[in-house]
C-alpha cells in the first residue's frame, strides 16, 4: 500500500525529527538505509501486511493442516523476528510518519513509528517469535476445520497489536484496538462448545468494550471539540488542555487501558479468559496484549497530555500497589495452573503501574534522573514480563497436552517425564521470582532503586508514602517467589498425584524451540542489562527528556545513579554462582565417602508413604489464605475424622466479584426488565407505538 502511494507523491508526508542521541554505528547504518530509501515504518507496515496475508493463506489452506502448522506458523514467527529487528533499528532513528489514503473523510489513517512504539514492537516481535514457533507444534492436534480460522485470527491478532502501536490518530487507534479485542475474543472462545469458555469470552468482551468506551471518551476530551481533523495525535499534542480537562482525560484513559490491563477492580476477566484460551493465545494475551495497555497509558500520559499532575502519580501508585498485592495473594491460593499465572499477570501489571505512577511523581517534581530510572524499570519489566510470562504460559500448554489436566492437584513428578519443559520452565520461574542473574531481578532491582533514591521530594506526604510503597513492592516480590515455588514444586517435583494416566510425553521439537527462545530471552535480558538500558534510554529521552545512562564504565556493571551507591553485575554473579557450584561438586567428589543410595523422595524415613501425603496445591497456599483471610470469600467443607471416604472441598473467591459486579449485574437486569415492558411481541402494539408517535409528532412539531 505504501508503494503505490509513493508513486503518487500526494498524500505521503514524512517529517524527520532530530533525535538527541545517536550512536555512531547507528548513523552509519542510517546512511546506508537512506540510500535504499527504506524507513523502519515501511518495514513495519510490510510486516503487518505479511501477517494478514499469512492469516488469509491459512484460511485458504484449511484442508491441509500440515501446511498450516509446519509452514505458516514458522513463517509468521520469522516475520515476528523481522518486526523485532525493525523495532531495534527504529529505536535509534527519528520518528517516521505515513498517511494512508484511506479512512474517514477529512481523517485519513496516520501511522507513526517513534522510539516508544519501536520499543513495544521489539516486545511484540520478540515474544511472538517464540510463541508462534511453539504454536506450530501445539496446534498440530487441533481439528482441521477450526485450524484455518484459528490461524487467521491468530495473525490478525498480531497484526492488530502492531497497528495499535503504530497508530497516530484516534480513529486508527480505536479500529486497531477493537480488532485486537475481537480477534482475541474469538481466539479465547476457540473451544466454544464448552459453556464456561463461552461465559469467560463474554465477560472478556464486555469488559474490553467498557474499557474501549473509556479510551474513546478520553480521546474525545483530548480532542477538545476542534473538529474531526483534531483527532490526530499530533493535534492532541499541540492542544493545551486545562488542568481539569487533562485530569479527566487521564482518568478516562487509566480506566480504559486499565480494563485491558487487568487493573483492580477491572481485573475479573483475566482469571477467566486466560485459562479458557489455548495456551499460546494466553501467552500472547498475557505477555503482549496487556502491554499494549501499558503502552496506551504511557502514550497518553507522557506524550499526548503535555503536563501531568502529581496526584495522577499517587493514584497510579496506589492502584498499582493494591493490584500487585491482590494479584499475588490470589495467585497463591489457586489450584489451576493457568489461573495462577493469570493472577500473577495481574500482579505484574500492578508493578508496572507502580513504576508509571512513580515516574509521573518524579517527572512532575522535576527530578528527571529519577523519572528516567523508574521509567526504565517499568519498560524493562514490561519486556521481561512479556518473555517469562509467555514462556510459562506456553509451558503450561505443553503440560496440558501431556497430562490433559489444568488442575495442579493431579500433577507432580513431571520433571522425570518432561525434562525439556521442566528445565526451560525453571528458567521462567526463576526469572519471574526475581532471582539473579535472570531478567526479573534486574527490573525489580531498578524499581526498588527508584524507590530508595526517592527522598527529597517537596511533598512531605509523598515522602512518607513512598517507603511504605517500597515495602509493599518487596512483599509482592517475595510472595511472587512463594507462588512460583508452589507452581514449580507441585507440577514438576514430588510424586504423581492422583491415579496414573498414560505416560506423559515431553514437548515436540517446535514446542522446544519456542520455549528455548523465550528462555534464552530471559537469560540474555538478565545478563546484558547495560545494553538493554542503553537502548531504553532512547525511549526515556523522548518521554521524560532524559536517559538513565550508566554511571559505571564498561559493560559489566550496571549502576543506575552512582557506582558507590548501588551497582549490579549479572555476569560476575553468574560466575560466582557457577564457581560455588563447581567447588561444591569438586569438594563433594573428593571428600564425601562416595556411597550413593537412591530412595523414594520426600519420605522422611516413613516407609508407608503414598502420593497423597505430599503437600498439595491447596496446602501450600494455606498460610496465605489464613493470613489474608479477610480478602477472600472462602467456602470450605471439611470431612469428619471418621469419614471413610473423606473429601475435601475448598474454594476462595474474589470478594470484589460479589461486592461490585453482581450488584451492577442486578441493576442492569432491573433496568432492562423495565425496558422489556415495552416489548410484548405483539405486532399491533408495535404498530400502535408507531401510530401514536406519528400522530404526536405531526400534532406538536
Amino acid at each position: 500500500m505504501r508503494r503505490g502511494e509513493r508513486a503518487g507523491q500526494v498524500s505521503l508526508s514524512r517529517v524527520a525529527l532530530a533525535t538527541p542521541v545517536r550512536l555512531i554505528s547507528k548513523s552509519v547504518k542510517k546512511i546506508r538505509m537512506d540510500i535504499v530509501g527504506v524507513l523502519p515504518l515501511d518495514v513495519a507496515g510490510a510486516v503487518i501486511v505479511l501477517w494478514l496475508a499469512l492469516g488469509l493463506l491459512g484460511l485458504a489452506l484449511q484442508r491441509s493442516p500440515h501446511l498450516i502448522t509446519n509452514v505458516i506458523f514458522p513463517v509468521g514467527a520469522i516475520v515476528s523476528l523481522a518486526l523485532a529487528a525493525t523495532g531495534l533499528w527504529a529505536l535509534g532513528e527519528a520518528a517516521s510518519y505515513a498517511v494512508l489514503p484511506m479512512g474517514l473523510p477529512d481523517l485519513p489513517l496516520h501511522l507513526r513509528l517513534d522510539p516508544l512504539s519501536a520499543f513495544f514492537l521489539i516486545l511484540l516481535g520478540g515474544a511472538s517469535f517464540g510463541v508462534s514457533l511453539f504454536s506450530a507444534g501445539y496446534f498440530k492436534s487441533m481439528q482441521d476445520n477450526t485450524l484455518g480460522l484459528l490461524c487467521l485470527e491468530y495473525h490478525l491478532f498480531l497484526a492488530s497489536m502492531a497497528l495499535v502501536l503504530l497508530a497516530d490518530d484516534a480513529y486508527m487507534f480505536m479500529v486497531a484496538w477493537e480488532t485486537m479485542a475481537l480477534s482475541s475474543y474469538f481466539l479465547v472462545t476457540t473451544d466454544h462448545h464448552v459453556p464456561d469458555i463461552r461465559k469467560a469470552g463474554f465477560l472478556y468482551l464486555l469488559i474490553a468494550h467498557v474499557g474501549a468506551i473509556g479510551i474513546l471518551l478520553s480521546f474525545g476530551v483530548m480532542q477538545g471539540g476542534h473538529g474531526i481533523g483534531a483527532y490526530t495525535f499530533a493535534a492532541m499534542r499541540d492542544a493545551h488542555l486545562s488542568a481539569f480537562w487533562s485530569s479527566v482525560a487521564f482518568l478516562l484513559a487509566l480506566f480504559g487501558f486499565g480494563a485491558k490491563a487487568g487493573l483492580l477492580p477491572l481485573h475479573v476477566w483475566l482469571p477467566e479468559a486466560h485459562p479458557a484460551a489455548p495456551s499460546p493465545v494466553s501467552a500472547l494475551m498475557s505477555g503482549i496484549m496487556l502491554k499494549t495497555a501499558i503502552y496506551g497509558i504511557l502514550r497518553v500520559t507522557f506524550d499526548l497530555l503535555g503536563a501531568q499532575q502529581w496526584w495522577w502519580g499517587v493514584l497510579a501508585l496506589a492502584l498499582g500497589l493494591i493490584t500487585a498485592i491482590f494479584g499475588v495473594m490470589f495467585a497463591a491460593v489457586q489450584g489451576d495452573m493457568k489461573r495462577l499465572l493469570a493472577y500473577s499477570s495481574i500482579e505484574n501489571i500492578g508493578l508496572l503501574l507502580v513504576g508509571i505512577g512513580l515516574t509521573i511523581i518524579f517527572h512532575v517534581y522535576g527530578k528527571d534522573a529519577l523519572a528516567a530510572l523508574s521509567l526504565t524499570a517499568t519498560l524493562y519489566h514490561s519486556l521481561n514480563h512479556a518473555f517469562f510470562k509467555s514462556l510459562l504460559f506456553i509451558g503450561t500448554g505443553s503440560i496440558l497436552h501431556a497430562t490433559g489436566e489444568r488442575n495442579m492437584g493431579h500433577m507432580g513428578g513431571l520433571i522425570r517425564h518432561m525434562p525439556w519443559v521442566a528445565v526451560l520452565m525453571l528458567v521462567g520461574v526463576l526469572s519471574i521470582s526475581g532471582l539473579p542473574p535472570f531478567n526479573g531481578f534486574v527490573s525489580e532491582w531498578l524499581l526498588l532503586q527508584a524507590f530508595l533514591l526517592s527522598p527529597g521530594l517537596p511533598n512531605s506526604y509523598i515522602n512518607m508514602l513512598i517507603p511504605v510503597a517500597a515495602a509493599v513492592i518487596a512483599l509482592a516480590a517475595a510472595l511472587a517467589a512463594y507462588v512460583m515455588v508452589k507452581f514449580y514444586g507441585i507440577i514438576f517435583l514430588g510424586q504423581p498425584r492422583g491415579e496414573a494416566r498414560e505416560q506423559p510425553h515431553d514437548a515436540g521439537i517446535w514446542e522446544r524451540i519456542g520455549l528455548s527462545w523465550l528462555a534464552l530471552g530471559c537469560v540474555v535480558l538478565g545478563l546484558a542489562p547495560v545494553f538493554v538500558v542503553r537502548q531504553l534510554d532512547l525511549v526515556t529521552q523522548v518521554l521524560v527528556g532524559r536517559g538513565l545512562g550508566n554511571a559505571a564504565a564498561g559493560w559489566l556493571f550496571l549502576a543506575p545513579v552512582d557506582i558507590e551507591r548501588a551497582s549490579y553485575s549479572p555476569v560476575y554473579f553468574l560466575l560466582a554462582v557457577l564457581g560455588v557450584m563447581l567447588v561444591t561438586a569438586v569438594v563433594v567428589h573428593y571428600f564425601y565417602h562416595g556411597r550413593l543410595r537412591r530412595g523414594p523422595a520426600w519420605d522422611c524415613g516413613f516407609p508407608a508413604q503414598t502420593s497423597r501425603m505430599q503437600d498439595t496445591a491447596e496446602g501450600f497456599g494455606q498460610p496465605i489464605r489464613r493470613i489474608f483471610e479477610p480478602f477472600f470469600r472462602i467456602e470450605s467443607e471439611l470431612p469428619s475424622p471418621f469419614d471413610t471416604h473423606p473429601r475435601y472441598h475448598g474454594r476462595s473467591d474474589d470478594r470484589l466479584w460479589f461486592a461490585l459486579y453482581l450488584p451492577i449485574k442486578r441493576i442492569t437486569e432491573k433496568l432492562s426488565s423495565w425496558a422489556s415492558l415495552l416489548q410484548h411481541g405483539r405486532i399491533h402494539l408495535y404498530l400502535t407505538y408507531t401510530f401514536v408517535t406519528l400522530i404526536v409528532l405531526l400534532a406538536f412539531v
Binding site: G681, H684, L687, T688, F691
Partner: protein, 220 residues
C-alpha cells in the same frame, strides 16, 4: 384542457382515493380488499396522468405508467396468487369493530386536514389542498394495519400507505425525480416478495397466519 378542469378532475380523483381508503377500512372480505387496492392504484395512476398532462411534465407520464403496471396489475396479481397458494380466503377479522374504526378514521381525516391547512397555504401549485387528503389516506392505511388481525390485510395496508405517500408526492407537489420513483417502486415490489416468503414461514411455524401468535416468539 383548461387548468380549472384539471383541478376539478384531480380533486375528484383525490376524493375517490379517500373514499377507497375508507372502503378498505370497512371491508371484511380479503379478495375485495385486494380489488379495492387495485382500484386505488388505478385512481392514483389516473391522477398522476392528469397532473402530467396539465403541467406538461414528461417524467410524470412514466410514473403514471409505472403505477398502472405495478399497483394495478402486478401487485394485485401477486397477492391473488399468494392467497390461492396459501388457501386463505377467510373473512378479515378485526381487533376493533368496524363502526368504531370508521369513527376513528373520520377523526383522523379531520386531524389530517387541520394539519395540512398551514402547509397548503404555502404551496403555490395547482394542487394545493390535496396534501390533506394524501396525509389522511396514509393515516387511514396505518389504522388499517393496526386493526387487522391477519398478516395479508396488514401487507395490503402497508402497500396502501405507500399509495398515499405517492399521491402526496406526485399530485400535490408535482412529483419526485424519476430515479427516486423507480427506487420506491422497486422497493415495494421487493417488499411484497419478502412478505410472501414471510407468510409461508409464519404459516409453517404457527399453522396459521394469525400474527397474534407471534407473541410466543418473545423471550421471557
Amino acid at each position: 384542457m383548461p387548468i380549472s378542469y384539471s383541478i376539478q378532475i384531480i380533486n375528484l380523483l383525490a376524493s375517490m382515493l379517500l373514499l377507497i381508503a375508507f372502503a378498505m377500512l370497512s371491508q371484511r372480505r380479503i379478495l375485495s380488499l385486494i380489488n379495492l387496492f387495485a382500484w386505488q392504484g388505478l385512481v392514483l395512476s389516473l391522477s398522476t396522468f392528469v397532473v402530467a398532462y396539465s403541467t406538461d411534465q414528461h417524467h410524470l407520464y412514466y410514473s403514471a405508467g409505472l403505477t398502472l403496471l405495478l399497483k394495478v396489475m402486478v401487485l394485485p396479481w401477486l397477492l391473488h396468487r399468494l392467497i390461492r397458494k396459501l388457501n386463505v380466503k377467510w373473512d378479515v377479522e378485526t381487533l376493533i369493530n368496524i363502526p368504531t374504526t370508521m369513527l376513528v378514521g373520520i377523526g383522523l381525516v379531520i386531524f389530517a386536514f387541520n394539519l395540512a391547512a398551514p402547509i397548503s397555504q404555502l404551496s403555490e401549485s395547482i394542487t394545493r389542498g390535496l396534501i390533506g387528503i394524501a396525509l389522511a389516506s396514509v393515516l387511514l392505511s396505518l389504522l388499517m394495519m393496526l386493526t387487522r388481525r391477519k398478516a395479508v390485510p396488514q401487507v395490503v395496508g402497508f402497500l396502501a400507505m405507500e399509495n398515499g405517500l405517492f399521491f402526496a408526492a406526485t399530485s400535490a407537489t408535482h412529483g419526485m425525480p424519476l430515479v427516486v420513483e423507480l427506487g420506491i417502486a422497486l422497493d415495494v415490489l421487493v417488499a411484497t416478495f419478502i412478505f410472501g416468503i414471510f407468510f409461508f414461514q409464519i404459516r409453517e411455524t404457527f399453522d396459521s397466519l394469525d400474527i397474534t401468535n407471534m407473541e410466543k416468539l418473545k423471550d421471557d
